[in-house]
Structure formats: structure tokens, C-alpha cells
């Protein structure tokens, strides 16, 4: 027997070192895929784990302000069969524009594989609904390590399911939007957009992404429309705030007309034979000439400043996607455009939500509230969970707001907004609008208002796209919605007492 070879032993040591280095590279690669690249891999839509793990969660319910169920899921036992994921129930289909959807088949048009998608409040409060929120880090680790069944939190919205359903019903098959906000707080009581979708049907792939009716598009928060005469609320408030006029000022524009940079404007909307009236009635009868004069008197720069103080050009903070309006593409408005903008025509566009906030501002102390949707998450301490609240913009003082309010009550009593008051059956303030679109298009019918007239609690904006006359089409809807909203508010206060 020969002795051991020291040279072989040396080579073995080197080979062992190489093998060890190989294992070290393997360990580094494991850390790379398991830690560094993990987030992007986990987020891939074709990762079957996403849906498998989501289905283990018992997702929280979405409730309206009085506890009515807007969305609810089956339990985890219903999720045992991955081939038929538990359908989330949406008992109030009219609430779809607010509640949104939760689906296992989001983007079904392009990708046949099942994935998880959310929209609306389902997306905005996903953390709470899935149960991630409100846990301390210790609870999070414990629930992960011990594999506790995940239960989400219920989310209570400010929405009023009955009001929402009624507003949607009043719009009917017409394209349009209704927004109701609480005057003092900015709590959103109803937010309707038509046509809308059935959230429960998204798992079956409906509606197609290229549906020409655009049912997934939220007209109340994202639609930009010419406001027409409802914008006179802003022009009046700006002129009163700057002391250019008073409600009692005499206006003799009834059968007059004037040109603004070659653009001829007449009063147009006053009753036949009534040629001289006060400013409140000029507003109530929606006299275009008077408002063109007010806008021109304010001037381009001041008018723009006022409009921007009212929030035009910026989107209010809100848990759902919101579009912002705009005044004009010109920095300095040419005389015809300034005159048109003053009575809500021309380049100016904004959203129904924005106009509801303006109505809430004049119905209150002059401040536009921050609109919010989340009332409560029972069992969770308040924190980063809550929607932002408070005053978004303070364009005018309380005195100016009171004056505009009075003008709107006049409009609802003597003016074109009368059909709204008749429909409501209670004293209200309001303003109609008929936004001319040019060409052969039917105008947009608008109404903004508040109720009750003496101490407003709710404000509304109603839009019927290509609906015709605001006074005939939008005002009755607005009136009924206001009456219902006040009644619901009384009932809710009764509940609390």
C-alpha cells in the first residue's frame, strides 16, 4: 500500500473551494430571485399566486351610511374551487360608479388568464377591505406566520343607497350624472353616472373595453362638460365679492343687446315684456347680457383668478379618479370669450362633482368642502385611512355666499329653476343651465341647487348629457333628489338621536 498523496489532497482542497463558491453563487441567485426581483415577479399578471392568495381573503363588505350592503363576498369556503371564484355581490347596481368593482378577470379583453382587479371604492379602500390596514406590524407578522384566515374590514361609505338608487332611476336611460354632497362636511351622499355597469358581471367579461357607451367612465367625476348658465353662480359670486354689483342693483337689459369684440349678446331668457329687474332676477331669469357685462367688468385676469379660486383647473382631493375643469386655452381671454365664459359658454368645461361643490360653497359659508366618501371603518382606529376632509377652497366670504344663496332662492321661486322647487315640494335654491354645444347637437341640461332654502344641508348637481332645456329636464330631477336627500338626512339625524 502506498501512502496518501499530498498533491491530490491539495487539489481536493481547491476543488472543494470551487464547489463551495458554486453554492455561494446559488445562494446569491436565490436571494436575487427571492428578494431583489421578488416584487416585480409577484406583480406579474400571470402569477397564479396573486389570485390564489386573494381568494383566501374574506373581503370586507362595503356599506352605505345606514348599513345597507353595497358589496359583499362569499366566505373562504366558497373560494375552495379556483375554477369558479366567489362572485362578489353588489345588491345596489346603481352604486356601481362609486363602489366600483372587484373582479378576478380584470382586463379580460386582452388576457384570458384570470387576474385580480379593482376599481372605485373597492380600489380606494382595498387595504382595509383585504384586512391589511389597521394591523400593527406584530399582528401582520403573526397573521402571516400563523396563517390565520385573512378577514377584511367592513367599510362604511357616506353614500345613501336609497338616494343613489332614486337619482339613478330619475336619470333613467339618459346619459348623465347626479352628485349630492353634504353642505357642511362635503360628505358625498350620492354620485350617479349613467350609463353604468353591473359590477357583478365583470367576472364574465362584460362590458367590453371598447363599449361605445363607455359604461366604466365616471361622468360625475371625470366627465368635462360645458356648464352653461349654472356657471353664472360663480360669475355672480365673483362680482358680489368684488363689490361690482348688489342683488338689488337695477338691471335694464331685458330687450337690450351689446357686442363684445364683435360678439353680439342679448338677454335671451327673460319673460316677454319684463325689461327692467333687479340683479337677483337677472340671475333667476338667466340674463346672458347682464352676466357678459359683469364678466367684462371684472376683466380677464380677475375673472380667471376668481374661477381658479373656485377650483377651476384643479381636481379636488377625492378617493375616486377626478378630472379638472379649465377656463380657456388663452391666458388672456379675448372679449368674446370672456363674455361667453361669464355665462358658462365658450371654452369653459368642468365636472358635475365640481359644480356640486360650488353649490355646497354658496349654500354654506362660501368654502368649497373637500368631498369625501369614507364614513367609518368599524374596529379600526382613525389614521391614514380616513379621506381628507375640510375646506378645499374659500373663494368668497359668508356674506357673499348668503347673497348668492338668496339669488338662487329667487331663481327657484320666480325664475327658471321653479320646476325644481315644484318637484321638491319644499323651499329650495337653484340654478338651471342649458349648455349650447353648437352644430346640431342638443344642449346639455343642467341644474345645481341646495335645500332647505333657509338652512341648506344638501347640495346637488344634475347633468343630462344632450338632454335639452335645463329647466324642463334637469330641474325636476334636481328637485326630487333634494327633497329625498333632506328627508334622508332627517331620518339619519333621527337615527342618531
Amino acid at each position: 500500500m502506498t501512502g496518501a498523496s499530498p498533491s491530490i489532497a491539495g487539489h481536493v482542497v481547491r476543488v472543494a473551494a470551487v464547489a463551495l463558491a458554486g453554492l455561494a453563487v446559488v445562494a446569491a441567485a436565490t436571494v436575487y430571485w427571492g428578494f431583489v426581483a421578488a416584487p416585480s415577479l409577484a406583480a406579474r399578471p400571470d402569477n397564479p399566486r396573486r389570485i390564489a392568495f386573494e381568494q383566501r381573503i374574506r373581503r370586507g363588505r362595503i356599506l352605505d351610511r345606514r348599513g345597507a350592503v353595497l358589496a359583499a363576498s362569499g366566505g373562504p369556503e366558497a373560494a375552495a374551487d379556483p375554477a369558479s371564484p366567489p362572485a362578489r355581490q353588489y345588491p345596489v347596481p346603481a352604486a356601481a360608479p362609486v363602489v366600483g368593482f372587484q373582479t378576478w378577470r380584470y382586463g379580460a379583453g386582452g388576457d384570458p388568464r384570470v387576474t385580480y382587479g379593482v376599481g372605485g371604492a373597492e380600489a380606494a379602500y382595498d387595504d382595509a377591505l383585504r384586512g391589511d390596514l389597521g394591523m400593527s406590524w406584530r399582528q401582520l407578522i403573526a397573521s402571516r406566520v400563523l396563517h390565520r384566515p385573512l378577514a377584511g374590514h367592513d367599510v362604511v361609505l357616506t353614500l345613501d343607497a336609497g338616494l343613489q338608487a332614486q337619482a339613478a332611476e330619475l336619470l333613467g336611460a339618459r346619459e348623465g350624472a347626479v352628485v349630492v354632497v353634504d353642505v357642511g362636511s362635503g360628505a358625498v351622499r350620492a354620485l350617479v353616472s349613467q350609463p353604468t355597469f353591473d359590477p357583478a358581471s365583470l367576472d364574465r367579461g362584460a362590458p367590453p373595453p371598447d363599449d361605445p357607451r363607455r359604461p366604466l367612465f365616471n361622468r360625475a367625476t371625470q366627465g368635462r362638460y360645458t356648464p352653461g348658465s349654472v356657471w353664472k353662480v360663480v360669475t355672480l359670486a365673483a362680482a358680489l365679492e368684488d363689490g361690482l354689483t348688489t342683488l338689488d342693483a337695477t338691471v335694464a337689459d331685458g330687450d337690450a343687446s351689446d357686442t363684445f369684440g364683435g360678439f353680439r349678446v342679448a338677454c335671451d331668457n327673460n319673460p316677454d315684456g319684463v325689461t327692467t329687474f333687479d340683479m337677483a332676477h337677472a340671475f333667476g331669469w338667466s340674463c346672458n347680457l347682464t352676466f357678459a357685462r359683469l364678466g367684462t367688468a371684472l376683466g380677464s385676469a380677475r375673472y380667471r383668478a376668481h374661477a381658479e379660486r373656485f377650483g377651476l383647473g384643479e381636481a379636488p382631493p377625492f378617493p375616486l379618479p377626478v378630472a379638472s375643469g379649465s377656463l380657456s386655452e388663452h391666458a388672456e381671454l379675448p372679449p368674446p370669450e370672456l363674455a361667453s365664459a361669464a355665462f358658462g359658454q365658450g371654452e369653459i368645461v368642468t365636472t358635475p362633482l365640481h359644480l356640486a361643490l360650488i353649490a355646497a360653497a354658496v349654500a354654506g359659508d362660501g368654502g368649497l368642502p373637500v368631498p369625501y366618501l369614507l364614513a367609518d371603518v368599524p374596529g379600526i382606529r382613525w389614521g391614514r385611512l380616513a379621506d381628507e376632509r375640510g375646506t378645499w377652497r374659500q373663494p368668497i366670504g359668508a356674506a357673499t355666499a348668503a347673497a348668492v344663496r338668496r339669488a338662487m332662492v329667487v331663481a327657484a321661486t320666480d325664475g327658471h329653476a321653479r320646476p325644481a322647487r315644484d318637484a321638491a315640494g319644499i323651499e329650495i335654491g337653484g340654478k338651471t343651465g342649458t349648455a349650447q354645444l353648437g352644430g346640431s347637437q342638443r344642449p346639455h341640461a343642467w341644474f345645481v341647487g341646495f335645500a332647505p332654502a333657509d338652512a341648506p344641508r344638501v347640495a346637488v348637481a344634475v347633468l343630462v348629457v344632450n338632454g335639452g332645456e335645463g329647466s324642463a329636464v334637469a330641474a325636476p330631477i334636481g328637485g326630487r333628489v333634494l327633497a329625498r336627500a333632506v328627508a334622508a338626512d332627517d331620518a339619519a339625524s333621527g337615527d342618531r338621536e
Partner: protein, 438 residues
């Protein structure tokens, strides 16, 4: 740090008990390994309404009992054998059994039976009363046997899936994978042959400019054995086994000669062969394309590797927990991709622990080689350990997209009877070499 020192630090005492009584280090580590193996099986045995289904733990308990029996037999007959090897193997087997019950419950009993046979094989190859020189004496027999084996498979082999590579031999329900056996036979042959020609191979007798080459005539039998087996494996499309054999040959050439020239020459040869294979064989092109970009076809060609990486990503640091992940979305998760399942359910922590167990096992094997009493035993122990290490690195590298994926098993952890038995023979021999008189 030399492997010996690394190993010594891990075990706390040297391999040889030298009549100092019981093998306490092995017993302690074995208890640890048994605990891990049984604990890994607990989630599978847990009943939804609370409590445990003890019958589900029976296989793991039987495995542990067999391991303790081997421990006792080692203390009695092989007191000098390395004390880390058995616990490492038992830990991997226990985890493998638990993962098998988790991801392929229908095959778990079969896997358990193979693990028990593996432990029995380990005991037999450690205890059989033959001289190791027998292996050296019949070196050419091993070579011929290996070539015949592959040849027979080529003619009469079966495929696991219709139309797939015909890698299996057998009759009835019993099949085995000849390429796994070939790996063992190759190490036997090379250890014997290279030890025989060691003096000649180490001396430089042929100079070609700055290069010093091995005397060509002595390379011929080696090249023949290698060439024939590689060619046969290529014909079979068993690329993983081909790569494994090639690296073992190069590694053992280096072990005997210490010449990096051989390694470099081998690598050059490998590059040429790889280029040729890439041009000639469609399956190589596919594998390389998937390796370079699995993302372009994640639901088709790249599905397995992408699903494997997603599983590893899901694991994070502590893992989803055994039974809580979704590793069954990976095709062949119980064989080639067992590591992805491990990483998903036990996280980086579990994967790192298993890698350290492999490191400990390999270092123990190489340490036996360093300390072995004759050059042949050194070559044999080092070659057998090298085979296991290279196999481990090839499959882990493939799963982690470090190299193109080729299907070989992860020693002791993957599903696969032949692999368990041949790996057990290898480690049994290493245990035996460790106990030879110094």
C-alpha cells in the same frame, strides 16, 4: 479556510472517534436532523379540526428509526467514519419526504420506499466486507459496463412521457435511470485508471510551445470512455447527465494532475461541443433560448422556469409556510424544481439552511478525500463527492436561471429512486473510506 477546518468547525470534533466511545456528534446532529424532518411533516399531518393524523407521520418516523439504526451500526463497525455525513443525508431525506407529501402526495409512498432503500444501500455499501481495491481492480469492467448500459438504454429504453427522451430501463413497474448509474461507474473507472497512470499524467512529456500536454496514448482510454458515454447521452438527449459526466471527468483529471491546462483544454473542448450541439440539436437551441429569455413566452416554452422563479419570489425571507404556497403550479416540481418548492414554502431561510447542509455534506466528503490513506481512496472519495456537488450545482443553477436548465435531480431531496440509491452508494463509500486505517 481549508475544507478540513471548515468541516472541523461545523462538527466540533474530528471525524475519527478513535475508540473514545460513542459517536456523540453524529447522534446529536442526527437528533437535530430527525427533528427537522418530522417537523417538516407536521403541517401535512395536521387535521383541519385540530390534532394530528399520526399515520401521516409514520413514514418520517420509520426513516428516522432506520437512520438511528445506521448510526448504531456505524459506531459498532465503522467508528472512524465521518460523523456529519449521515445527519446531513437524513435531514435532506426528511425534508424531501415532507416536500414529496406536499407537492406530489400520490407519489409520496413510493418516494418513502426509495428513501428507505437508499438508507439500506448506504448501510450495505458502508458495511460490505470487501476491500476497496476491488473497485480499483475491475476499473475496465466498470467502463465497459457503463457503456453497455447506455447502449442498452438507447435500444430498449423507455420514455417517461410519450415521445420524450428514452432515459429509463426496466420491466413492469420497476424502472431505473441508467445515466445515474453511469455517473457512479465513471467515477469508479476514473479513480482506478487515473491513480494507475498518476505518475505519467503528472509528468510533462509533451510540450507544445508554452503548453504542456498530457501524454496522448494514456489519454486514449479516458477519451474513449468519455466520448462514447457523452455521445450516447447526446443521442438520448439527456443533456444534464452528459454535462455532469463531462465535468466529473475534467474535475478528476484536475484532482490527479493539478493541471489547470487540462481544465482549460476541457473547457475549450466544451465550448466547441456546445457550439456544435447548439447547431445540430433542436432541443439544445430551445433550452438556450429559454434560458436567455424565458419572459418572451412565459405561458409556453418559458412556463416552467418562470413559474419556478415566481415560486422563489413568493417565498420571501421566511417563506409562505409548508402547505401554504402554490408550488404545484410548476411542472415537474417534485423532481427538477423541488428547490423552488422549498424556497416558496420555507423562504430564503429554508433555502439557505439546505444550501448549508449541502455545503457541510460536500466539505465532509472532500475532507475524507484529503485524509484518505491511499491515492486511490483519495481519488474515489473526491470523485464521488465531486459528482454529487456538480449534480447539485447543475440543477440549482438551472432552476435559478444561472445556466440553461437540464434535468438532473437534486441529491436526496428530489423525487427519483435511481438517484437516491446511487447517491446513497456514493456517500456510503465515502463513509467507508473515512474509516480506513491511516
Amino acid at each position: 479556510m481549508t475544507p478540513a477546518r471548515v468541516g472541523g468547525a461545523l462538527a466540533g470534533r474530528s471525524g475519527r472517534a478513535a475508540g473514545s466511545g460513542w459517536r456523540w456528534a453524529e447522534l446529536g446532529l442526527l437528533a437535530l436532523a430527525a427533528g427537522v424532518g418530522i417537523a417538516a411533516g407536521l403541517p401535512g399531518a395536521a387535521l383541519p379540526e385540530g390534532g394530528l393524523r399520526l399515520t401521516a407521520l409514520a413514514p418520517a418516523l420509520a426513516l428516522v428509526a432506520a437512520a438511528f439504526a445506521i448510526h448504531v451500526s456505524l459506531g459498532w463497525r465503522r467508528p472512524g467514519a465521518d460523523q456529519r455525513i449521515l445527519p446531513c443525508i437524513v435531514l435532506l431525506m426528511g425534508l424531501g419526504l415532507a416536500l414529496s407529501q406536499r407537492v406530489a402526495p400520490a407519489l409520496a409512498t413510493r418516494q418513502w420506499a426509495w428513501l428507505m432503500i437508499g438508507l439500506a444501500t448506504l448501510a450495505v455499501s458502508t458495511h460490505l466486507p470487501y476491500e476497496l481495491r476491488v473497485i480499483q481492480r475491475y476499473r475496465y469492467t466498470w467502463a465497459i459496463l457503463g457503456i453497455v448500459l447506455v447502449g442498452v438504454t438507447l435500444v430498449a429504453g423507455r420514455s417517461a412521457v410519450p415521445g420524450g427522451p428514452r432515459l429509463w430501463l426496466g420491466a413492469g413497474g420497476l424502472t431505473f435511470q441508467p445515466s445515474e448509474v453511469l455517473r457512479l461507474l465513471l467515477v469508479f473507472f476514473m479513480a482506478g485508471y487515473l491513480e494507475d497512470k498518476r505518475e505519467i499524467l503528472s509528468a510533462a512529456s509533451l510540450k507544445l510551445g508554452p503548453l504542456r500536454l498530457m501524454p496522448l496514448p494514456y489519454l486514449a482510454p479516458l477519451a474513449a470512455m468519455m466520448g462514447v458515454s457523452l455521445a450516447l447521452l447526446t443521442a438520448q438527449r439527456d443533456l444534464g447527465a452528459g454535462l455532469l459526466l463531462f465535468v466529473i471527468c475534467l474535475g478528476m483529471l484536475y484532482l490527479v494532475s493539478g493541471r489547470s491546462t487540462y481544465v482549460l483544454g476541457g473547457l475549450a473542448l466544451f465550448v466547441c461541443a456546445a457550439w456544435l450541439l447548439h447547431h445540430e440539436i433542436a432541443v439544445v437551441q430551445t433550452r438556450v433560448a429559454i434560458w436567455l429569455d424565458p419572459w418572451s413566452d412565459p405561458s409556453g416554452a418559458g412556463y416552467q422556469i418562470v413559474q419556478g422563479l415566481m415560486a422563489i419570489a413568493e417565498g420571501g425571507v421566511i417563506g409562505a409556510g409548508i402547505g401554504q404556497g402554490l408550488p404545484t403550479s410548476i411542472p415537474a416540481v417534485h423532481t427538477d424544481f423541488i428547490y423552488a418548492a422549498l424556497a416558496e414554502e420555507t423562504g430564503l431561510a429554508g433555502a439557505a439552511a439546505v444550501l448549508m447542509v449541502y455545503a457541510t455534506l460536500f466539505l465532509a466528503g472532500f475532507r475524507v478525500a484529503v485524509r484518505a490513506s491511499t491515492p486511490f481512496r483519495q481519488m474515489l472519495a473526491a470523485g464521488l463527492t465531486l459528482g454529487l456537488s456538480v449534480q447539485t450545482l447543475i440543477i440549482l443553477g438551472g432552476v435559478l436561471r444561472l445556466i440553461p436548465l437540464t434535468g438532473v435531480t437534486l441529491p436526496f431531496l428530489s423525487h427519483g429512486g435511481t438517484s437516491i440509491v446511487t447517491s446513497a452508494v456514493a456517500m456510503g463509500l465515502v463513509l467507508r473510506i473515512g474509516d480506513e486505517p491511516r
